[in-house]
Symmetry: C2
Subunit: 308 residues, 2 copies
């Protein structure tokens, strides 16, 4: 299996854009056709509806973007039937040529981390993710089993470095030895990335760096030259295309930008209200295309496609 | 539903000891009767075997200890059938009067953290945990939805503060403003604990503090006087009863000590080899009783039971 960093570069080039569609199927937000009785539905019915919703989103975006990012929390919220839906959705996305980044923010100490890595990483694993988000608090030895499994299986990792939430800085921004904690984590990620490098000059190990902190995004691009950046916070969390421009390299590679609610629930946004709730898939398509256009216009991702 | 800190105190008093049995069902380590063909078994067969193994462990320990701690990683490793087994095992343990601490080390930003909290916390949630382990890297606002749900549902949290692995200090021990990161996290946990306090003077929010760092354990007991400590690292990771003595208050409350492999796979330990592999449940019983005796002899937990 090909190196994850190279596969991601190929997928971004093929799509001509770096958009990741976040699959956050909050049941209460589903279009009316899929969520007719929110209070009464049993958990297996809710899981089935969320699975169907995600598959229909995938049908719309598969030809448009390089990757999807299912958020484990919304599937776990639906218990075991939700986890079955997650597995089904991940397979459905892979079968349609999308890379699947499982956003599960897992980690544990060494031998348990091995089990998580075995669970998630690679197409032959039980969940079959192309990449997984992981948390760094437990230290480098907790990340090693993930790195080993990712390297063996052509899969990737995105380590939380600087998250997009307002309180993310409470610990991440604490200064230790003249630089914030997130820069210590970034230095570790860069070592792992440089140690797992592929033909496109990026490693199998990348970083999660929030779009809501544009200055740090450019700083972290420079601090981790070999790490793919997974950038959340675009759209509903307030970040714009211009805010994420600093995450890219000069080729327009090196970053993928996630948008969940702003795309999958676009039918609720005023700018797409004209489509009506029954045409929610058209709203997904329009919001995806609008985000692609914005990133092409305002960031180096515009270099991925020939100028008209 | 009663306050989690009070329920945990009651369960520890009722059992007369603070032992938590970790349910880490590594399929390859199961007794031969449950794992006859490791290479050939399908994932649903492995999940069924792990579920049966955990239920049999629960049958042995339910009358002996206050709580069990299923490790999500080993169930996730078995895909959706593994997650069904996890839900079944958690229910089985609850039905036998054990508190269930789901060791999943979850977290995410606010609105997604809400989904995780809703998934796991409380007996009416899809997974039905009495408590959940969570990671602090994303900051206090990522913990708030967990605290809110725990408070509403009589459930608890254990926030990673100082983990038991050799490399745990890489980030946790970084000095920021004259104290290590883990002390900043501990200060935050103490605020949450003091803000959710019950009749036994402990909050709904506790901390994970590894037994493998005995000096820090006592330091953290003092720094978080209102936080229950969940102490991993006993036994297979090298910590002894004496190492965990500093985690308790003068009543013998305030800490629960986890042991997974050392109990559930005790049939593989030299000291229980005489029982043979077919009597693996007897080895579970003996290892549990031996750990209880050691904690009673070497720690303030001895005060939980009348002196003979």
């Amino acid at each position: 299996m090909t190196h994850f960093g190279d596969r991601l570069a190929a997928a971004v080039r093929r799509a001509g854009n770096p958009v990741v569609v976040g699959l956050d199927p909050r049941y209460d937000d589903l279009p009316a056709a899929l969520n007719s009785s929110p209070a009464a539905a049993r958990i297996d019915e809710r899981a089935a509806a969320c699975g169907r919703f995600c598959r229909e989103v995938i049908d719309v975006v598969a030809a448009r973007v390089p990757a999807v990012k299912p958020q484990a929390a919304f599937f776990e919220q639906l218990g075991p039937p939700g986890m079955q839906a997650l597995a089904d959705v991940m397979r459905y996305a892979r079968d349609r040529g999308l890379l699947v980044i499982a956003d599960a923010k897992r980690n544990d100490i060494g031998s348990t981390a091995e089990a998580y890595a075995d669970a998630w990483l690679g197409h032959d694993s039980p969940w079959g993710a192309d990449a997984l988000t992981v948390s760094p608090y437990l230290g480098g030895d907790s990340l090693d089993p993930f790195v080993d499994a990712a390297t063996r299986r052509g899969a990737g990792l995105f380590v939380l470095v600087k998250t997009s939430n307002p309180g993310g800085g409470q610990f991440q921004d604490l200064n230790a030895a003249d630089r914030p904690l997130y820069r210590h984590v970034a230095a570790h990620v860069e070592r792992l990335a440089a140690g797992s490098i592929g033909a496109e000059d990026y490693g199998s190990v990348g970083a999660v760096t929030g779009a809501t902190y544009p200055a740090q995004l450019a700083e972290l691009r420079a601090a981790m030259p070999h790490a793919w950046l997974l950038v959340p916070g675009y759209g509903s969390q307030g970040a714009t295309a211009r805010d994420v421009a600093g995450a890219f390299d000069a080729r327009g590679l090196g970053a993928v930008v996630n948008n969940a609610r702003g795309i999958i629930f676009a039918y609720r946004r005023p700018e797409y209200a004209g489509l009506g709730t029954t045409r929610w898939q058209d709203a997904v398509a329009a919001a995806t295309d609008d985000m692609i256009a914005a990133l092409r216009a305002e960031t180096p991702a515009g270099r991925l496609v020939p100028r008209p």
